[in-house]
Assembly symmetry: C2
Homo-oligomer: 643 residues x 2
């Protein structure tokens, strides 16, 4: 057995023993310490900064007599200031334990409770659920007619409801006779897709309940629905607990592939979160978990694989084939979900590579295949997904925007949690900044001590757009140091523009946008823009009639900021819509209307996937798309706005 | 928490703590002490006699200062001699523990290792298994053709083998991509019933393995078969561990219904035995348990329900409807069987009431529906099952023979274990007895000290027949005390005839057949005979062309003894056949040929079940059938034999 050492985390006081050579991040996960880790422990994001308080650490620049921890020098140079290094800061994921140690987790490294913004929308959904209930009254068995309950039941269902050839799920069979007698020979059966009896209840029961689930990379949302009315009885959401193993899908694929029991841990995490969501939603609605007789799930291809316990390693590397495109129907019990014993889980189909079931959810919610107008649907997340087309033809693609829009790889970036700057304006003349943080209704001009902790995605959009419009950054993205403003200064390594002064924050530091942040935003929005452009070329169109911003994030960004930085090609602002969590809506539709499941399988197969990296001019198109809003393209609809 | 007391069993020395008020039988089960219990603890069989060695027990006839155990006086009077009572004997199931105690388990109460006689027979079986294997070579994925593995595989199967509309079992999906790459894009899939991919292996694999299982009330037998040749690679059998909870089906139904977790215990027991049989058979054949891709199971209706974890309570009381007649296909994993992850278990259909899947096994093995001759098929077990008919019409019935044929309710009865007298002859003149015991090739005339422990079923048949032929018992069954023989004597309560003298036994007591034993045999054989007679009346025939003795037991009894005591109506001895374990053969056929499954479902539905107790003349017919061989019927084929 390995040596074990004591570790204490401050200020939480959480403590325990960990094996020699474990990283501080491992220890934090093991002890339940809230610690940011956007990259999942690869040393790429710099978000898990901690301070070694006791014990010493043996680095090239620290003299110590013994080694409580060792760390990799190169990551320090990259993510830590000299000041921080002097005060024993290090990255938790790159620092291994070789002795007893006390670790301080500074405010900005603690994981905030993300604000979950995945409310169900008010779309009208036609009701035709996959599960239907049938009531039958049986003739009691006698010595002269002692036929078995199964045959008696099937016979009566055929007589009363003209359903033939039904099979019966095994758990129903084990409970059949008891329930028939409990109901005094009157029972209600739940039939899945007109084929299989998946549930049985005594007496006459009309209500039935289902759960639509949108598993996002960051957030899991569940919508408990009444299958007879379509009503959403409860919405429950929580952080996807897989975040602890890597914030983006590539980190999770890496974790699942390389770590011991990695896939099992990721799968257990998401299954556990669904059980919890189901439990909470049922409590809220006053029903039991075993009343849930159907489930529909969307998620991107990686999430899809992890949810189904399918190793994601092959879809994580070229040529990126998923295990399956087609929708999957699997018994909830086979997944470890504790719902009605016979319940199925319907997982919507994947399109291709990283364009997964969540995008299909958007597809069946927005139905571009029933439109004449040329639509561009943008689902902004850690991965960007794009659909272009109309009833004649549909293209899809995905682009790695990176986590910049979610606040990662941004010096003061953070998730949309309390304290995040979510909106901001810059006066083009004075260059003064007004901003608003999540959890506080006031702008900083009204309340100086506003408690900002960082900037989240929508704030980053605004920052880039406003800095561009105020001339602080040039078309090329370069920060223009000729501008006169106390907020504009040369930082330790690069130019930076202060958004919030230390006294407006909860972290006692100036919150600034640095040159590298702008570069990250350019890469992200450039990927999105060039994806749309390549698809337009492939489609042979040079004009988009409508832009649909899908995804919860799309509802919170400022449409104009998005247009100004050049997230998508020119379009009339009147025809840019945010439709909220369309993926979740798609899941709800598939739950409530089985025809939507067929529609999903039909269209998932027919959407032509465009592999952007195979486009011969990709680099050229991408490079032009890095500029604000674009190096060459015209934006007639923005002509009054752009400098 | 209850008080706990120490209990020690002798001579095994097994010891442990048990809760106050537990019975000695409970304690024996808990500590793994081998102790007979035919009735499952109801105090009806008298087989669990034990002797209290230390501690005292407080009964009306024993003076004691304190009570280590208490027992029910009435059971003692019924099953114990005065001598035994004086020496602190009691029934373990009726005696509760209230203090520390030492218990001696006498030889005749120890459970013998039953001789398992369920070898597979040499029937020719046409091969057409439900699982077929298909080999396909896939085109590797590229960036230009990155379609998912599932779609790629289905496409190739359709092209190469013209199989369409295949579904894929969930565990296969989780392993799909890894196996495709392990096999370098060449794989073999196992397809169930032309519908579902239930397994996948890298490369080309031709062999496939299946397990046919005959779950008897007393014995579980498994036949590991090569699905490509039909060969039986290994036969494994063991006592059905449910025996510990009751030896006959009614006791087990009682246990499942009344005891806490009773069903679960019975189900766990039989599932555990199947896992063990599978493991042992695979070891013997040099394969892995996960190589077993198909299973076919037969058992009587009660066993069928307990195996499928279906509460048997309703089929245990009038009007006795089973949960299901139709065959059941259920995933092995849903039953807790550890075989190939996607394997199905096919459980053959039930006919009616107590005529279960085992009888259907006999039916498809013997195929009376393809014969012109009038067949009577008798399956002798704890329950007797009868089939009468030919290609024109088939009747079935079941009769409660009671456990007499298996040695229960017989003073010196025992199972077919080492030491059981299995054959015997009585000289009509001298009334001297020759017998042979299991585990010893010699007859007692060659080796006086032969170590008999009791009499098993085939020995009981012989004893009744030989005593009748020797005039020791009359046609009415009464022991004729006028016969002069030192073996014939008045016992404590009733007349008895000594089969083995104490010095020929391992228990140091004379082994005798008592008047009550003869009555038990009469009831058992009378039930069988009258069942056959009522069916013949219903069929409108007065002659049987062939009698088939099915069941392992049928192979070990003497045909002539069976005819002489009147187990079945008159038939030419040339046309009385023992066919061995036909139920097990039926399971093997269903495993190897899926058409036999359809045949089973087809005929199980068409066999007309005759509820014997509804027959108006039942009592009259039954009473006449009690006589040896019958009160009124003629036996032209036995005329040279009968007195």
């Amino acid at each position: 057995m390995n040596n074990q050492y004591n570790i204490v985390f401050q200020p939480s006081g959480l403590r325990g023993k960990v094996d020699e050579d474990a990283t501080i991040l491992d220890a934090a996960r093991q002890l339940g310490v809230s610690l940011e880790s956007v990259c999942g422990g690869k040393g790429n994001c710099g978000k898990c900064k901690v301070q070694i308080e006791e014990g010493h650490y043996d680095k090239y620049h620290i003299e110590s007599s013994f080694s409580a921890v060792t760390t990799k020098p190169e990551t320090n140079t990259k993510f830590l200031t000299k000041e921080q290094i002097k005060h024993n800061y290090c990255l938790a994921c790159q620092t291994r334990i070789h002795g007893d140690v006390v670790v301080f987790v500074p405010e900005q490294s603690r994981k905030g409770q993300q604000v979950v913004r995945k409310e169900a929308t008010n779309r009208k959904i036609k009701l035709n659920p996959a599960i239907k209930k049938y009531y039958v009254e049986l003739t009691p068995a006698t010595l002269h007619d002692a036929v078995g309950d199964y045959e008696r039941l099937l016979d009566q269902i055929e007589k009363d409801h003209m359903l033939t050839g039904l099979s019966m799920d095994y758990p129903v069979l084990t409970r059949l006779q008891g329930i028939v007698r409990e109901g005094d020979w009157k029972v209600t059966v739940s039939v899945w897709q007109g084929k299989e009896i998946i549930g049985i209840e005594p007496g006459q029961v009309k209500k039935g309940f289902g759960l639509a689930v949108d598993i996002g990379t960051t957030t899991v949302a569940g919508y408990l629905c009444d299958l007879t009315t379509g009503e959403v009885l409860a919405t429950e959401s929580m952080m996807n607990p897989q975040v602890a193993f890597g914030e983006d899908v590539m980190s999770r694929i890496g974790y699942a592939t390389k770590e011991k029991n990695g896939l099992k841990k990721l799968n257990d995490a998401v299954i556990g979160s669904l059980n919890e969501i189901a439990e909470n939603a049922c409590k809220r609605a006053g029903i039991k978990r075993s009343d849930i007789i159907d489930v529909a799930v969307v998620g991107n291809t990686c999430i899809h694989h992890l949810f189904l316990n399918i190793p994601p390693q092959y879809m994580g590397r070229s040529p990126f084939p998923p295990a399956i495109h087609h929708s999957v129907d699997v018994k909830a019990r086979d997944l470890g979900l504790h719902l009605a014993p016979g319940a199925y889980v319907h997982v919507l189909p994947n399109e291709a590579g990283f364009v997964g079931a969540d995008n299909v959810g958007v597809l069946i919610a927005e139905e571009p295949y029933n439109q004449d107008q040329m639509l561009l649907i943008i689902d902004i997340g850690t991965n960007g997904e794009l659909i272009l087309g109309n009833r004649k033809r549909l293209l899809s693609s995905s682009c790695a925007t990176g986590p910049a829009f979610e606040g990662a790889e941004i010096r003061h970036g953070m998730r949309a949690a309390a304290g995040a700057i979510e909106k901001l304006k810059i006066d083009p003349k004075t260059k003064e900044v007004q901003f608003k943080v999540i959890g506080n209704d006031k702008w900083n001009t009204e309340d100086k001590n506003i408690g900002a902790r960082g900037i989240c995605g929508s704030g980053i959009f605004d920052a880039a757009a406003q800095m561009f419009l105020a001339g602080i950054i040039e078309k090329s993205g370069r920060i223009n140091m000729n501008i006169k403003s106390p907020r504009l200064r040369q930082g330790e390594k690069e130019p930076e523009f202060v958004i919030a002064w230390a006294d407006e924050t909860a972290i006692n530091q100036d919150i600034a946008i640095v040159q590298k942040d702008i570069r990250a935003i350019q890469l992200a929005k450039g990927a999105m823009y060039s994806g749309a452009r390549i698809m337009m070329n492939r489609m042979g169109v040079d004009k988009i009639d409508r832009v649909i911003l899908a995804g919860a994030f799309g509802s919170y960004i400022d449409k104009t900021s998005a247009a100004v930085i050049g997230l998508f090609p020119d379009c009339d602002q009147k025809f840019v819509y945010a439709v909220g969590n369309a993926a979740g809506d798609g899941a709800r539709m598939a739950l409530l209307n089985k025809d939507k499941r067929d529609e999903a399988d039909y269209w998932a197969k027919r959407v032509e996937y465009v592999e952007l990296t195979l486009e011969p001019n990709f680099n050229k198109i991408f490079t032009s798309a890095l500029a604000f809003p674009h190096a060459a393209d015209k934006f007639p609809h923005l002509k009054n706005l752009l400098p």
